[in-house]
Symmetry: C2
Subunit: 359 residues, 2 copies
Amino acid sequence: MAATIHDVAREASVGIGTVSRVINNSPRVKPATRERVLAVIDKLQYKPDPIARSLVSKRTNSLGVIVPFFTRPFFMELLRGVEIVSARLERELILYNVETNAQRDHYFSELPMRRKVDGLLIVSLTPGDAVSRRFQDAGLPVVLIDAYSPLFTSLVVNNVEGAYEAVKFLIEKGHRRIGFINGLIEGNFKFNQANDRLIGLHRAFGEAGLLFEPELVLTSEWSRMGGKQAALQLLSQQKRPTAIFAASDMQAVGVLEAAKELGILVPEQLSVIGFDGIEVSELLELSTIYQPVQAMGEQGAALLVELIDNPAKIPELIRFDTKLLERHTTGPALTPVTHSEEQGLPEGEASRLATRHLL
Amino acid sequence: MAATIHDVAREASVGIGTVSRVINNSPRVKPATRERVLAVIDKLQYKPDPIARSLVSKRTNSLGVIVPFFTRPFFMELLRGVEIVSARLERELILYNVETNAQRDHYFSELPMRRKVDGLLIVSLTPGDAVSRRFQDAGLPVVLIDAYSPLFTSLVVNNVEGAYEAVKFLIEKGHRRIGFINGLIEGNFKFNQANDRLIGLHRAFGEAGLLFEPELVLTSEWSRMGGKQAALQLLSQQKRPTAIFAASDMQAVGVLEAAKELGILVPEQLSVIGFDGIEVSELLELSTIYQPVQAMGEQGAALLVELIDNPAKIPELIRFDTKLLERHTTGPALTPVTHSEEQGLPEGEASRLATRHLL
DNA sequence: TCAGATCATGGAAACGTTTCCATTAAACTT
DNA sequence: AAGTTTAATGGAAACGTTTCCATGATCTGA
């Protein structure tokens, strides 16, 4: 049906080798010949078959991305960055979505076997030792985003620092009872980002001489519902926190919903700060710790392609900084209010109290 | 390096044909032989090379999805549906994101040539006659989602009916000055969904004997900013509308932002209804016309796979119904308010604040 | 028991490239 | 002009499968 390299060779009265050289821009072709071949290619509308091509060249010209819950805003924005670069570099993008441990293991074990992709981007998932070795033995280039392994180039955000800043920010606003809703560490996968964020909290607490109160630290799914339920629990304690730091924006949105349901005013009676800086956080004017997700996706894809072209490249660890985005869900702390007092604080009372705390 | 079919054949003392038959579950193999071959396959960890496989079988086992702005919530949810089915059916999913006309044309012209995918899902984009013919000539199965062509199986939502319901709903609430913010028809692509929604509006207007006022109908990008700017314009008219229907939820979110910026209370002074039913609409309690996007993605993928297995299948048109979701951005129409009245709304001050928090 | 039918099997050919080696043509050198 | 280097070219081999045909083994029924 479609023209093959043989058709072109015959029509141009050259050998298939020459046609191949023309296609691949080899310099070892006389200009006149190249012209002639090019003309025939154009006439026959010839396109080399990518499959036959990769059978022998061992290159597929495609990038695989293993990503959990790709539909979630955080991953979407990351994927957007990946897509931008892969499109620019003319690589196909194959999506491997992971929602269960079984799926993750499936991809981890199948992908290195047969090279359907030239390289693999793994997002928010840390391959274990056995799996890592498989990737290496198979010679499959791998780059990790939002996950770390000494074996692979890894792009991570400074989670400890980000969490530290969030909590420090709340402390500086005068908050003393600070709730923390963390994400599951071993829930579905090894999200050790969660652990880092907890560490950051500890550091800020330590620095401020604050006592760590375990009943103020909860763990939930990395989702809106998870955050909401945890917040409901946190906020119905006898001495409820005056501020809540959530390990992700989606969880923070859940906190907002919980507060609303309980009739607690944000930020007047409760400060809320999230983590991620996804689009909804902007819509809801949620204060948050922004991480440059799209940029991470872009750079991850770019590094992967570099690695494909030069497999000897040694793994590096690339850190991205977070940025605190103060919006409208955070405010100065009030002294704990009793029911009778809950109605109205005169204007300026809040800031006076906050100031007093700071001095 | 890795074992090939020849290694297996040798080790099991059979011919490669037999191994091939075992892999492909052909019944024409004696059980004893099958066992033996299977054992060797297991021992050598043999996996057939998908590339060599597709070179001869002309099957790649992958689905392509051409989708504009895949990062937008509407497309994301659709993609989620597609992914669910493609994962279940063990097809790889290749993403072709389109942000410009050039990109669209690039994919439209390249994809039918190189058979890198077994079938193509085209989302919200209508291929022209020439392109359609190319797809057909190349024998590439195509399914359209949120777009219609008589040449391909198409899944569409009843846009006319949906828009009609939205407007009728507003009219029944007593609104008479109803603004419509439509999406661009020829902005980037031929989104003729926009036209359908306009028609629905006309029908509702006609039925209610309402006059169509051109100055109340604007067109914007299918985005938050687009919606916001259009709303700003609509709301600063001398006789501003008491309700606005936006052709997409993202535009409706922009309307809410504009209203907030102008100090116009929703739903007290302005009713807003969107179209799509994406997750943010729920967060913001936006009334909207829900369309079963994920289901469309799922069914589209399923139909595409059917079409791949049976290319003779005749194109069909599948319609999905929308559903009106009444939430908290729509209310009864008030008589136009003057400035002096705008101050105090006694009822629900607290809930107003709470609502504000969520925006 | 034997002819005919059916089943199981082996392996060559084909898929459409790239790679590499051999060969021929062209360009220098002296 | 002849010898030597270098450039350009042709095409076989290889990549790892599936497909298909030929062959031999096994079964069937009288």
